[in-house]
Symmetry: C2
C-alpha cells in the first residue's frame, strides 16, 4: 500500500494565513532527518528551527549520569526550537530524531525576523508552547506513577499519532532511553503487549496491531494528552474544536 500519500504537512504551518505562510516559506528548506540524529543539545544555542512533516523528534531532559529522558514528542503538530520563538537563544533540551522523515528547516535568525511580522504564527506558537508544557507535565506525572507497560503503550501511540502509519521503526533499547528504563524492561513489557495481540515486533520494527486495545493498555495520560494536543493546534481555522483522534482510522 502507498504510505505517506496524504502529503503530511506540518500543522503549525498549514494553519497560517497565506501572507504569513508565504513570507515564512521563503526561508524554509526541506531537509531529511535521520533516526538517531541530534538536532540540538541542552545549553547549546539554537541555530535552526525544524517543522517536522513525517519525521518525528523527541525532546529529552538531561540528567547527570543517566541517558536523557524523553519528555515530549514533536511531529507534524509542532516544532523543534521553540525556545527561540519565546525569545530565548539557548535550548534546555536535547532534540533527538526518533523517526526518519522530512522536515522544513529555517535559520534561527531569519525565523526571528519573520516571526515579528507574523502575528498568527506567533499566536500559534504560544499556544503550542502551552500544549508542549502540558505534555511535559503529564509525562512527569506519568513517569512517576505508571508501570512500564502502560508507558510503553502510550509512547507507541503517541508516536503513531504523529507519523501516521502503524509501523514504527524503534528498537527496545531506544524505547528504553525514552522511557528511562532498561532495555530488558521494554522487552518484557513488549512481550506482554504482543501476547495480548496488541502489537507485533521484530528487529527494530514495531507494528501496532490493535490500536484500540493498545489505548486501553496505555495509561490515562494518553487520553488526557490526546485532547489537549489536538485542540490547541487545529489544522483548520474553523470554530469548533477538533475531536481527539482525527485521521487515525484503520
Amino acid at each position: 500500500m502507498p504510505a505517506r500519500q496524504p502529503a503530511p504537512v506540518n500543522q503549525l504551518l498549514a494553519a497560517l494565513p497565506d501572507a504569513e505562510g508565504e513570507r515564512l516559506r521563503e526561508h524554509l528548506r526541506a531537509v531529511a532527518l535521520n533516526s538517531g540524529e541530534i538536532l540540538c543539545e541542552p545549553g547549546e544555542t539554537i541555530r535552526h528551527i525544524y517543522f517536522p512533516d513525517d519525521s518525528l523528534v523527541a525532546l529529552l531532559a538531561p540528567v547527570d549520569g543517566h541517558p536523557a529522558l524523553g519528555v515530549a514528542l514533536v511531529g507534524k503538530d509542532g516544532m523543534v526550537g521553540l525556545a527561540c520563538a519565546l525569545g530565548v537563544g539557548d535550548s534546555h533540551m536535547r532534540a533527538l530524531v526518533q523517526g526518519s522523515g522530512s522536515a522544513l528547516r529555517i535559520d534561527a535568525a531569519a525565523f526571528r525576523r519573520t516571526l515579528q511580522r507574523s502575528p498568527c504564527l506567533h499566536a500559534a506558537l504560544q499556544r503550542y508552547a502551552d500544549s508542549l508544557m502540558a505534555q511535559i507535565a503529564q509525562t512527569a506525572a506519568c513517569n512517576r506513577f505508571h508501570l512500564v507497560e502502560a508507558r510503553l503503550a502510550r509512547w507507541l501511540l503517541m508516536t503513531r499519532d504523529r507519523i501516521g502509519p502503524d509501523r514504527l521503526h524503534l528498537t527496545h533499547a531506544f524505547l528504553g532511553h525514552m522511557l528511562g528504563v532498561r532495555r530488558e524492561g521494554v522487552t518484557q513489557s513488549a512481550q506482554a503487549l504482543k501476547q495480548r495481540g496488541l502489537i507485533d515486533y521484530r528487529r527494530g520494527t514495531v507494528v501496532i496491531v490493535d490500536g484500540r486495545g493498545l489505548e486501553a493498555a496505555a495509561c490515562s495520560c494518553y487520553a488526557q494528552l490526546g485532547k489537549l494536543q489536538f485542540s490547541s493546534t487545529p489544522a483548520r481555522p474553523s470554530p469548533g474544536r477538533a475531536p481527539g483522534n482525527a485521521g487515525n482510522a484503520p
Copy 2:
C-alpha cells in the same frame, strides 16, 4: 525577628519599565494566599492571574487515581496562570498554595487587554514560559532517576529560594504529595537529612540548617535549574548573568 522586611516583590513586575508597570498596577490587587488553597484546577478556565510576592504556589500535574504530582514552583520569580498569557483560556494544571503569603492578582480579561499594550511584559512572560518548561522537564527526569532524599532536598531548597527565609511551613505529608511518594518515605529521608545536620524540623515546620550541605545532598537538578531560573528573569537589566544563589545569605 521581623521577617518579610526586605519587601519581596515579584520579579516579573519589578523588571517592567515604568509605563507598563503603571498600566498593569491599575488592575492589580494585593491578596493573601493561604497554604492549601487551590487557585486553579486543570481543565478550568483561568479567572485570575497571580504574581506571588512572598507566597509560594506549586503547579501540580493531575493523574487518574493518584494525588497530583508537583512539577514546578512559582514564587516571586514567576506567575500563576501563564496559559492565559499564551493565549489559552484553560489551565492544564492545578495551582496549589504551598506557602502562605501575599500576591498581586489581576482579572484574566484585564490582564489580556493590558498585555497587548505591554511588549516588555509580553517578552518577559515568554521567557518565563521557557524557563517554566525547563523546570518541568527537569522535574520529570528527576522524578524518574533520583532517590527521594535528593529530591526532598531539592524541593526544600527550591522552596527557600523563592520565599527567602530558611524556615518553611511544610508537613511530611504535604511534601509527599509534591514528590509523589508516601508520607513515610518523606519522614525517613527527612530523618536522614536531619541526622546529618542539614535540616531540622518539628510538627509542620522545616528549618534549613546547613544550606550548602543541603545543596550537596540534593540532586544535580537543583544546580541545573538554579542557573536557568534566575538568568531568564534578571531583576536588573544588567549585562552579566546572575549567579545561581543570589540574596540567600544568612
